[in-house]
Amino acid sequence: MSAQSDLTARVTRPRGRVTQWVGGDGLFRAVVTLCSAVVLVTIVAMVIFLLVQGFDAIRHYGFFSFLTSARWAPSEADPTQSSPNPYGILQFIYGTLITSLIAMLLAVPVAVAVALYITNFAPLRLRRGLSSLVDLLAAVPSVVYGFWGIFALIPALKPIGDFLAATLGKIPIIGVAFSGPYFGYSYFTAGVVLAIMVLPIIAAVCREIFATTATSWKEAATALGATPWEVARVAVYRPSRTGILGASILGLGRALGETIAVTMVIGNSVLAINKSILGQGATMASVIANEFTEATEPFHLQALFVVGFWLLIVALIVNVIARRIVAAQAAR
């Protein structure tokens, strides 16, 4: 009897408490809704802010005129002239995309390999330590990556860059993309720095994804006589492809917006699209970081806000495309 009453007591007590908090559900719902609304409102407010701040330049030169030129020459801005627009930004869009592309090409395969090793191949004792080391890479401040890029990475990449310029650079047509001289400060170096910066993000997410793959699949594959490599391919990598893409999007987001580390190693050439990845360039984020403190030419500061606006738009477009790809993968 006493056991019976204990049981009911245990059940009824919490129930009683919940009924006392009538309206708690509604409150909770409101708080959660509010929080997500804040995110949405922030984004919208940011777009509006950038447009308002850049409005003078947009009104003076025209909304799309910034996208018709790859020449950024604030010193040539003349308040009495609205054409040609001295604030062309195509070279920055190009710089942002090409450095992110190089970063993704280098980082994704390595990150997947690192995650596979940690989850499937590393001795158990090593796994935890290795995981923390990868996470630690993500905690290094970007300005440190920049310093390291200048003083360690550039000297280390010098022979590689010289080699690329001397070999690929001499081939007709594609040689343009690798023509020298390579001085270190370049899209290529910026891409490599970015690769190292996004690697831990992608690796950490992939690690979690791989860890959640069904053990039964792995066991089944092993039972069928699959080698460890085949197990990793069939039972871990295959079912995780969507997840890997998702992880890459996270990394890409960081690569697109990364500012200081890129500014320090890209060479900050703003006058044209440099066709060679071994040449100097600039990204949308780097030009803002470089110039906003001394943006004293006519419409200069406003034009930087326009750059910020387009950076947001480019990031949104890239994200939407990437999400589409993930969705298509998941549907398969």
Binding site: G267, S269, N290, E291, T296
Partner: protein, 387 residues
């Protein structure tokens, strides 16, 4: 290689706050390796601290703090001054945000004074809340620094050659134009990497002012004299580095690089720098004496807005600049006005004796007197403060 270890040591000591190292800063550098007898002789020997005593009589003031913002070029100097001046019970907070930022903050009146390496133009003053006193504080050379492994003597370069290099028209170190000025120096067949400022900068303004005066090729390449000088210009080629640090870092890291920085940065990073040909045709090493020479014999305008580049004195280093404190002529707070007068009067007298500890040069006698006179124009609600 000329790296002036002695003076670099003095910088380090000064950074530790041992300001008495000023004297040591003037010991002759290892620059004696320069092969221009004339230029070297000028730079040898010590220069005495100016020891100016013509300051404005101390004004009674209740203010215990002043705020300033602007030039990064003058920031190392300003930190020596502010820490020295703190002993007098007034904290001067200087934000090193760049000359353009300094001008903006003065225009909006958010600081007690600004500082810019390019003087405020009439169009800048029009945006301010009233007339501005522009007071030069120190002189400093912008040096043409380079990284050429194996070259141990100071290169000699004229303005036209430097202009062509930065315009991307001379692309290799063994170009005849460089060779002809440096007989006896074995110049490597190495591509030239030009390094310039990626941010707007007073240093750039001084450097491009010189190029505009001395290099027709530079002016043509940039599309005219109005476009070839400024805090930002449309660099036809090269690597952009952020700040003096960014440029000196890139030059130090890149063999074959050439850039321009304020002298102190070249010294602390042990970079080589060139002797530059001046208006009278001599190749001049940047040092205390040659910078001071650039400011002598100049007729200064009443508003003290002038350029010191390409001066005519035979010993003048041609890429010399200054930095201007920007102060509202008419002040509305008696205590702030008195504090500003006291601080800048101190900077222009005792403060000048500390300049060489951080590789800046004190103002010449004529200029210093004019600066004090400029300060005396300050008014309080329209009434003169100093009689």
């Amino acid at each position: 290689m000329r790296t002036a270890t002695l003076r670099t040591g003095a910088v380090a000591i000064a950074m530790l706050g041992l300001l008495d190292a000023c004297g040591a800063a003037d010991t002759p550098s290892s620059a004696a390796t320069s092969s221009t007898p004339g230029a070297t002789a000028v730079c040898q020997g010590t220069t005495a601290n100016p020891g100016y005593t013509n300051g404005i009589a101390n004004q009674p003031s209740q203010a215990t703090s002043l705020s300033g913002a602007g030039s990064t070029f003058v920031a190392p100097m300003m930190s020596v001054w502010t820490s020295g001046y703190a002993a007098k019970g007034v904290q001067v907070a200087y934000q090193s945000i760049g000359s353009g930022g300094g001008i903006k903050q003065v225009q909006s009146g958010t600081v007690d004074f600004g500082d810019s390496d390019a003087y405020m133009k009439d169009s800048d003053i029009a945006l301010a809340k009233g007339p501005i006193l522009q007071v030069p504080l120190v002189l400093a050379p912008v040096v043409v620094t380079y990284n050429l492994p194996g070259v141990t003597t100071a290169l000699k370069l004229d303005g036209e050659t430097v202009g062509k290099i930065f315009a991307g028209q001379i692309t290799s170190w063994d170009d005849p134009a460089i060779k002809s000025q440096n007989s006896g120096v074995s110049l490597p067949t190495l591509p030239i990497a030009t390094v310039h400022r990626s941010d707007g900068s007073g240093t750039t303004d001084i450097f491009t002012d010189f190029l505009t005066k001395e290099s027709p090729s530079w002016v043509t390449a940039l599309g005219g004299a109005t476009k070839s000088r400024g805090k930002t210009v449309a660099w036809p080629s090269g690597i952009g580095g952020k700040g003096n640090e960014g440029v000196s870092g890139a030059v130090g890291q890149t063999s074959g690089a050439i850039g321009y920085v304020e002298l102190g940065y070249a010294l602390t990073q042990h970079l080589s720098y060139a002797d530059v040909k001046n208006k009278s045709g001599a190749y001049i090493e940047p040092c205390n004496q040659t910078v001071l020479a650039a400011s002598s014999g100049v007729t200064y305008p009443a508003d003290l807005r002038f350029d010191l580049t390409d001066a005519s004195d035979t010993h003048a280093y041609p890429i010399t600049g200054t930095t201007w404190a920007l102060i509202y002529q008419n002040q509305t707070s008696a205590s702030k006005a008195a504090a500003l007068l006291n601080f800048f009067s101190w900077v222009l007298t005792s403060g000048q004796d500390q300049t060489s500890s951080v590789n800046y040069q004190p103002l010449g006698k004529d200029l210093q007197r004019k600066c004090i006179d400029q300060l005396k124009k300050m008014t309080l609600n329209g009434q003169p403060i100093v009689q």
